[in-house]
Each structure stands twice: as structure tokens, then as C-alpha cells.
């Protein structure tokens, strides 16, 4: 018997529509589950009172036959990077402890308008910097499949919440793989839409030219439904695309027969975990059996992407994080300090990874080094974009592993930043090129750890991506497995 919290969002929506379940019941089920799995460290803030009030309002709308769409009454949670009016928002950092934003971000408002019940805010690496959630300013989060292992980062809390039934769906952000990598490590579906597809207004910036908002869900259909609500032009975000939003569920069951799928050879280099490789290769076979045309392609600049990515991301971050200076908000510990001392004291509250990236970015932008580092990285970025453009001239979507390895142990990579940075090696190029990418479960290791496959498509081809993902999901039931907790 499936437990209530194990339902997908669209299954829940159906039951809500048929009055089999109330939103209050679904919300309570999540709240109880959150309570019971406290040790995972998924949530940084739970708003049970507010959530139950929203659920009650949704149930009333339903009684009055006046619901706001398929997600009305569905309990969801957000990475703590989204600004939520009146609700604590820390971005996983002590520097924002106690901060209650005066406004809702655009996607938050869209979810509210859709009648979603907001349960609370999810754990993350501080300022979204990290690939393991161990850099949370508050508490590291744990993988529900093996609590000794990391859930991935930076949207680790989001992936845990979905995998363990602490929310029916979540929103995360992905700068270099922060949705897809934890989705893979926790066995859920995670989509990074095309850069500019979803508004960034009210999302705390890490690297503005790379950040993108996206859903983490139990299955591909949920992913499509959440994307449907959050996608679209936002006049508050000058980089958001003024392009019509298609119906993402319309062709989702259409299959992949005749689709041309490319396998970038650079993503199967030595270093990739053998079990991961085997699972991804098996998935490719499945696609072949489903009628897709598989061909090997090349993305020759893949090797340079991660270095270029860290230069671009840290440069932008060093500037984006300058506002946390203690002048207007955030804790000011000693009111008697002079100006420079206050800056020092405030910014000493950043965690070590954030400091490391600010330093790196500051250096990359400084006079005399700009051309050698930031300027060069932007050139590499152009080459990476060109690689993908060439690839999409030959095929409709690409298949790669999402992460080179399954979830690693807590503490395993913390002392070795470079090794940690390589956790995103298969995902960063997609951000550098602004493309949509999705990760979905494609198997388990013999230790029972989830493995993810990544699909990548051309800009704005989310519908194709979802359809391709859904075709695989129909064949295998990996996504139906739940961690034993």
C-alpha cells in the first residue's frame, strides 16, 4: 500500500480532484514525515502553521469549485535560496540568519498563485556553493538512501525532500549542476531549464549568467507540471526570455521513435565509476530498443569547461556577494566597530568554501589578470557553446551520466576542493552553454545507491527533453523505488 507521502504530485492532484484526500491531509502527512526524518537535515525552516493555513484555503477553493490549476493544494518546498515574503531566507548562510525578505520572488509568487502549499525552506550549500551539501552554514544534509553519504549539492535538501516524501515536489537552482547532481545522487528527477526560461527575480544570485531555477520531482510528469507553472517571461528579470511557454505535458507520452540521440564520447572517459558507466550504457540500449537512433558525437572542449566554469562562476559570485557587508541586514555582532572592522567581522561569517570562491573570483577579475582568467574563460564558454550547437545540428538530444560517481561519503571530499569540483564535471557545460538538462534515475549500485542519467537538449527544447525522459521512465521503474527509512 502506497503511503500518502509517497504519491507523486500528479497522483496527489488526482486524488485531491476526486476528493479522496484533502490538502490538509497531504500537508499533515508531509509535516509528520519531516518530523520523523529530522536526522536527514533536509529542512532549514518548516512553516507548519502557514502550510496548514494554505492547505485549508486550498480545500475551501476546491469545495467552491474554484481551484487554481493542477498544483492547487499540493505541498511543496523550496531551496532556501528563494525569497519568501516574511519567511526566513538564509541561502544556507549565517550571514543571512534572521533575514525575512520583504517580497516574494517571481517563481514563489507563481507557485502561490497556483495554490501550492508551501511547507518551508530546504537545506543547501551556503550560497549554492558546493556539490555535497556539506557546506551548509547550518548543518550538513544526509542522503536518504544511506545517511552516511551526501545527498549532493547544492540543492541537496530539495533532492532529499522529494526522495523521502518530505514534499511532493521542490524547486532548486542549478548553477553548475546543483539540481541534476543531487537528483541523481538521491534517485529523483531534476530539471535545469534553458537559461532565461524561468525568472531569477527573487532568487539569491550565485553566478548570474549560469543560475537557473528548476524542479526536483518524483517523476517526469511532475517535472513537466511544475515547469509549466514557473516558466515564462518576467518583466522583473531583464535576462528572461520573452518566448511563449508551450504545453509541456501535451506530447510527453509520444516516445522517442526516430529521435536522434547523441553520445558525447568525452563523457565516458576513464575516471567514471564502473557501475555508473554500466547503468548509463544500459539506458542507452533501452533508448535504442525504443527506436531512437544512437550515434557517437564529440564535444571537444569538454576538458576545459570545468576550469572555465569555476572562473566565470566565482568571478560573478565575488561581485554578487559583495552586498553582504553588514550595513543593511544580516547579523552585526559588535555595534561598536568602525567601518572596515565591521566589514571584516560581517564577512568573516562566510563559510570556508564561500570565502575560497570569493577570493578566486576577486583574483580572476583583478587588474592585470582579467584577460588571462575571466576573459579567457568567456572565450572557452563560447567554444563550449559552439560544440553543443554543432552537436544539435546532428542530433535531437544528448545522453550522458549525470555524476561520475554515486553519492560519496560525508567528509570524503571536503579536504580536497578540486576533487569536490569534479563532482559537477558532467553538468557544468550545460550551464556554460545555457542549455536545458534533465537527470532521471537509471539504476542503482550494488550498495543500493541511485544512479542518474542526464539528457541535454537545444535551447528551449524542454518539451523534447521531458518526452525523451518520460519514454525511458515508462520502461523502467527505478523512479518508483523509495529509500527505506
Amino acid at each position: 500500500m502506497t503511503k500518502l507521502y509517497e504519491l507523486t504530485a500528479h497522483e496527489l492532484a488526482q486524488k485531491l480532484a476526486q476528493n479522496e484526500i484533502s490538502s490538509i491531509e497531504a500537508t499533515q502527512a508531509c509535516l509528520e514525515r519531516i518530523e520523523a526524518t529530522n536526522n536527514l537535515g533536509a529542512y532549514l525552516h518548516v512553516d507548519s502553521v502557514g502550510a496548514l493555513a494554505l492547505a485549508k484555503a486550498s480545500d475551501e477553493r476546491r469545495r467552491a469549485n474554484n481551484t487554481n490549476g493542477p498544483l492547487d493544494g499540493v505541498p511543496m518546498a523550496l531551496k532556501d535560496i528563494f525569497l519568501t515574503e516574511g519567511m526566513p531566507t538564509t541561502c544556507g548562510s549565517k550571514i543571512l540568519a534572521g533575514f525575512k525578505p520583504p517580497y516574494n520572488g517571481t517563481v514563489v509568487q507563481k507557485l502561490k498563485d497556483a495554490g501550492v502549499v508551501l511547507l518551508g525552506k530546504l537545506n543547501m550549500d551556503e550560497f549554492a556553493m558546493g556539490s555535497s551539501n556539506e557546506y551548509s552554514g547550518f548543518t550538513p544534509a544526509r542522503n536518504p538512501w544511506d545517511p552516511e553519504r551526501v545527498p549532493g549539492g547544492s540543492s541537496g535538501g530539495c533532492a532529499i525532500a522529494v526522495a523521502a516524501g518530505l514534499a511532493f515536489a521542490t524547486l532548486g537552482t542549478d548553477t553548475g549542476g546543483s539540481i541534476r547532481q543531487p537528483a541523481a545522487l538521491c534517485g529523483v528527477v531534476g530539471l535545469k531549464p534553458t537559461y532565461s526560461r524561468v525568472s531569477r527575480f527573487g532568487v539569491i544570485a550565485y553566478a548570474s549568467s549560469l543560475d537557473q531555477v528548476g524542479p526536483l520531482t518524483k517523476d517526469v510528469t511532475d517535472c513537466a507540471q511544475v515547469l509549466q507553472v514557473i516558466a515564462g517571461h518576467d518583466p522583473h528579470d531583464s535576462t528572461s526570455a520573452d518566448v511563449a511557454v508551450p504545453d509541456y505535458t501535451k506530447d510527453i507520452e509520444q516516445g522517442v521513435s526516430g529521435l536522434r540521440l547523441g553520445i558525447p564520447k568525452e563523457y565516458f572517459a576513464p575516471g567514471i565509476d564502473a557501475q555508473v558507466r554500466a547503468a548509463v550504457e544500459a539506458a542507452i540500449k533501452t533508448y535504442e530498443q525504443l527506436g531512437a537512433k544512437i550515434s557517437e558525437i564529440s564535444l571537444p572542449h569538454t576538458d576545459y569547461a570545468i576550469a572555465a566554469y569555476y572562473l566565470v562562476a566565482t568571478a560573478e559570485a565575488s561581485s554578487n556577494l559583495a552586498r553582504y557587508d553588514g550595513v543593511r541586514y544580516g547579523p552585526r555582532r559588535d555595534p561598536g566597530l568602525g567601518l572596515n572592522e565591521m566589514y571584516d567581522d560581517t564577512r568573516s561569517q562566510f563559510g570556508s568554501e564561500v570565502k575560497r570562491r570569493i577570493m578566486l573570483g576577486t583574483y580572476a577579475l583583478s587588474a592585470g589578470y582579467y584577460d588571462a582568467y575571466y576573459g579567457k574563460a568567456q572565450k572557452v564558454r563560447t567554444l563550449v557553446q559552439r560544440d553543443f550547437a554543432n552537436a544539435f545540428a546532428q542530433c535531437d538530444a544528448l545522453i550522458t551520466p549525470t555524476s561520475p560517481s554515486p553519492a560519496f561519503k560525508l567528509g570524503e571530499n571536503v579536504s580536497d576542493p578540486i576533487k569536490m569540483y569534479l563532482a559537477d564535471v558532467f553538468t557544468v557545460s550545460v550551464n556554460m552553454a545555457g542549455l536545458p538538462g534533465i537527470s532521471l534515475p537509471c539504476g542503482f549500485t550494488k550498495d543500493g545507491l541511485p544512479i542518474g542519467i542526464q539528457l541535454i537538449a537545444a535551447p528551449m527544447a524542454e518539451a523534447l527533453l521531458l518526452r525523451t525522459a518520460r519514454a525511458y521512465e515508462r520502461e523502467h521503474k527505478w523512479h518508483l523505488q523509495r529509500p527505506a527509512l
Partner: protein
């Protein structure tokens, strides 16, 4: 002894005349309560993103075109990173290596000699907020007022073509005049709408290399521009004469002591770590868009001055006064459209309207006064005088009491103020005045011809100023001869 020549370049910050800020919809009105005109965006709160105010772009294009610059179809927003409490994001959004306009010029006149100062570039940027140091009330604390933060500015950077303090002041004045003509900036220096940094160096006459310069920061009046630069030139000459070297540094003009003082040395200058702002797409302007703005440009002061003297036949003196300020020139032209005698309208505008404006001493009040309706009234009034319908005296009375909605023609009709020019009704009044003042008549006849004014005045008084003074004059002289 070595003779030195000064080399001066000016960086002028002009606040663009928009209703709202550069990247948010907060008001730019001056003088509001502290931190009233702020929002999450201009406070740089987490998660905010800038949205460009297109009106500010239009004004920057106007400024560029008015100063003869090339407007670039593609320019770029950059971040200028530095820490200061008045800079909420930790960076200022500005234009750096790809500004909106470059390569213009300004013709400057000093003591009748004209010279050309080249404009290097015009770029757009957002203003910083304002630190308020309040050591009296709260005991040595500082506050920040963010009302000004995010206000749109253009920075107009000249080439180092200026060779004297007077020329620098003239440059500022002419620049202000053109910006006001263009409607780009209100030019209000007291409110900080127009501020100037001056880069000053000196070099031996004949030398082509630039000497070490100092930067005089935030000068906010024409007088201070001239005084500060004059002082700085002399100071640098003395340093060199005594065998010293000029230190590159930022200096401030102390308006009390009338000296420049070192603020900070350039050695500790910031590395601003400029890079393209990833939150803002490049500013792309269609050539037709720029051309449309060009066709809407008003006639600029130099062209207007020429037209007033050649086509309207005004004196250089009158034309200069009328064209000094765009609003006055426009007002003059509107009144002229009502009654087409340039000299007569010019006299009234200069002698009456401008005198009245001076008592207001406030640009906003002045702008409110110089309405279309007021121009209509002045045109009518001048017409009434010029057509001998009323006397100048009556006209001035009407002018003094003129209210919005009044029509001088109607006032003259309703109050029967038409000038009396018929001999039959004036003669008896003259006879009466002469009869009442026999001693004065005797004095006049004894040669005191200046008594004439007295008689005329008496008659005018009798008629309530309506009698045609010229006619009265003639009639009295005839009677006493």
C-alpha cells in the same frame, strides 16, 4: 623661470531628468524624507535584478547627439566593484569600455574668444546613495539615505583640452545650458544634479607630455570650478618651483578656506574589477531609433542666438539674454507667435518677465510661471501697447496684477482702459490743470520747461492713465507756447 601651461579635463556628472530611477521604479524627486524613495531593487537586497529605464536611455542619447557625439548601436553595462556603505550592492552599474556615446565637442567662449573642447565619452550609470554623519544627535554615528541611490546619471568626460580655469567654468556653463536645452538635466547644482570632477596638471609651455595630475572631486558650482582650478594651478606651480614633485591624488575644494586639500592618495586607489553585468543584456539601439531622437532635438543655443540676431533682428545683447536659458527662449518664441514684433516682445520679456522671475529665484517656480498661457498674455499685452490701444503705464499695471486665466484684451475692454486719443476730451482737462496751477504755468513760461512733465502727469492722473501721453504732451506745449 619656466613658464607653465595648465592642462585640464573635466568629468561632469549630470542627473538625467527622469521620474524614476535607472533600474527600478522609485521616484527621483529631490528633498523627500530619508529613505522614502527606496525599494528592494535600489537597496540591493538579495535576489533583486535591475530593469533598465528606457527613458533614461533616450535622455542619454539626446545628450550625446546634442554634444555632437557618435551614439553606439551597441553598448554594455558593467559592474564597478568597491565597498562603501552608500553602495548597497557592493558595485555600481556603469558603462565601462563600451559607452553609449563617444567623440563629441563643445564650443566654449571666454572673453569673446571661442575654442573647442573635445568630448571623449558619455556613459550612463547609477548614482550612489548618501552617507549622513550625525555626531550631534546620536553620538558619532553614521546613517545612509538611499533616496538618491540608483538615480540615473550620465558622466560626460572631456579630453584634456582646457587650458584655464575660466575656460573650465565656461565649459561647465555651456554644458549646463545645452543639457537644459535638451531637457536632459535640470542643471540644479545646489541639489547635486550637476557635479564636476576636474583633472588638473601643468607642464612647461611647449611640452607635449602630460604632467602628473590631481583630481578635484565633487565641485558643485561654477564659481568653485574656477576658484578650485585657479588655486590648484598655482599650488602645482609653487610645488614645482620649490623643487618638489606633484603627487597624483584626489583633492577637495575647501569652500571656507578657499584651498584644495588632499583627500586620499591615488596609490590606495581601488581596483574596481570591472566586468560586464550578467544581469543586463547589452544595450542595443536600432539606428532608426537614434535617428528619431535626432529629429526631435530642439534648436540649440548657438543656432538660436544666430537666428535671433539675423532673422529676428535682435541685438546681440538681447539675443544672448533670451537664449541663455531654454525655457526663456521658448517662452519668448511662444509670445512672439502671438504678436510678431520681435523687438517689442524681447523688451517685455527681458524687462518685465525676467525681472519678475528673478524675484522667484527658483527654477521650478520659474518653469511653472513660463506657461503657454502666460506667453499668450504677454503677447496680447505687447500688442495692445504697440497698437496704441493702451499706454505703457496701463500695460504695466495690468501686467503686475495678471492672474492665470486673465486676458489682457478683455481686461482693457471690461475696465475701459483704452487709451484716450481724442483731442476734444483731453483739451478741457488740460485747461483745467493749467487753470489750477497758475504759478507753475508762470514758471514754465519763464523758461522752466521741465515743468512740462508735471502738467502731463497731472493730466494722466485725471484720466487714470488712459490719455495718450504723446498727445497730451503735444497739446500742452501748444497751449503754453
Amino acid at each position: 623661470m619656466t613658464r607653465y601651461e595648465p592642462v585640464i579635463g573635466l568629468e561632469v556628472h549630470a542627473q538625467l531628468r527622469t521620474q524614476s530611477k535607472l533600474f527600478c521604479s522609485c521616484s527621483t524627486a529631490f528633498g523627500a524624507d530619508v529613505n522614502l524613495h527606496t525599494c528592494a531593487v535600489c537597496l540591493g537586497m538579495p535576489g533583486v535584478l535591475p530593469v533598465l529605464n528606457r527613458h533614461a536611455v533616450d535622455l542619454a542619447i539626446r545628450a550625446g547627439l546634442g554634444l555632437g557625439c557618435t551614439i553606439h548601436p551597441r553598448s554594455q553595462w558593467s559592474r564597478k566593484n568597491y565597498f562603501y556603505p552608500d553602495l548597497p550592492k557592493g558595485y555600481q552599474i556603469s558603462q565601462y569600455d563600451q559607452p553609449i556615446a563617444t567623440d563629441g565637442q563643445l564650443i566654449v567662449e571666454v572673453d569673446g574668444a571661442t575654442s573647442t573642447v573635445r568630448i571623449m565619452r558619455i556613459h550612463m550609470e547609477e548614482d550612489a546613495a548618501k552617507n549622513v554623519h550625525d555626531d550631534l544627535i546620536a553620538g558619532n554615528r553614521s546613517y545612509v539615505d538611499f533616496n538618491r541611490g540608483g538615480t540615473p546619471l550620465v558622466e560626460i568626460v572631456s579630453q584634456p583640452d582646457i587650458r584655464s580655469a575660466a575656460q573650465a567654468a565656461a565649459y561647465m556653463k555651456t554644458l549646463r545650458q545645452i543639457l537644459r536645452y535638451l531637457g536632459v538635466c535640470d542643471g540644479n547644482m545646489e541639489e547635486g544634479s550637476l557635479r564636476c570632477d576636474a583633472n588638473v596638471s601643468i607642464r612647461p609651455v611647449g611640452e607635449t607630455k602630460l604632467g602628473t595630475r590631481t583630481e578635484l572631486k565633487n565641485i558643485n558650482s561654477f564659481r568653485f570650478v574656477q576658484q578650485a582650478i585657479e588655486y590648484e594651478i598655482e599650488r602645482q606651480k609653487e610645488v614645482l618651483a620649490s623643487g618638489g614633485t606633484i603627487v597624483q591624488e584626489t583633492r577637495l575644494w575647501d569652500t571656507q578656506a578657499k584651498v584644495t586639500r588632499s583627500m586620499r592618495s591615488k596609490e590606495e586607489a581601488h581596483d574596481y574589477r570591472y566586468f560586464p553585468d550578467p544581469d543586463l543584456p547589452n544595450l542595443v539601439l536600432e539606428p532608426s531609433y537614434i535617428e528619431n531622437i535626432r529629429t526631435e532635438l530642439p534648436e540649440l543655443p548657438a543656432a538660436k542666438l544666430k537666428r535671433y540676431t539675423t532673422e529676428l533682428g535682435l541685438s546681440n545683447y538681447d539675443a544672448n539674454i533670451l537664449t541663455e536659458d531654454a525655457e526663456i527662449a521658448l517662452f519668448f518664441e511662444k509670445a512672439l507667435a502671438v504678436f510678431k514684433k520681435p523687438k517689442a516682445i524681447a523688451n517685455w520679456v527681458i524687462n518685465e518677465v525676467l525681472r519678475k522671475l528673478k524675484t522667484q529665484n527658483d527654477d521650478t517656480a520659474a518653469a511653472a510661471t513660463l506657461t503657454d498661457a502666460y506667453a499668450q498674455q504677454i503677447g496680447e499685452l505687447v500688442e495692445l501697447v504697440e497698437d496704441n490701444i493702451i499706454s505703457g503705464k496701463i500695460a504695466k499695471d495690468i501686467f503686475a496684477d495678471l492672474k492665470a486665466g486673465d486676458s489682457p484684451k478683455r481686461i482693457v475692454d471690461e475696465h475701459g482702459l483704452k487709451q484716450v486719443s481724442d483731442v476734444g476730451s483731453i483739451e478741457p482737462l488740460i485747461d483745467e490743470v493749467l487753470a489750477k496751477n497758475p504759478e507753475s504755468v508762470a514758471k514754465y513760461k519763464a523758461g522752466r520747461t521741465n515743468m512740462l512733465g508735471f502738467f502731463v502727469g497731472q493730466v494722466m492722473k485725471q484720466t487714470g492713465g488712459k490719455a495718450n501721453p504723446k498727445l497730451v504732451n503735444e497739446l500742452i506745449q501748444k497751449k503754453l507756447s
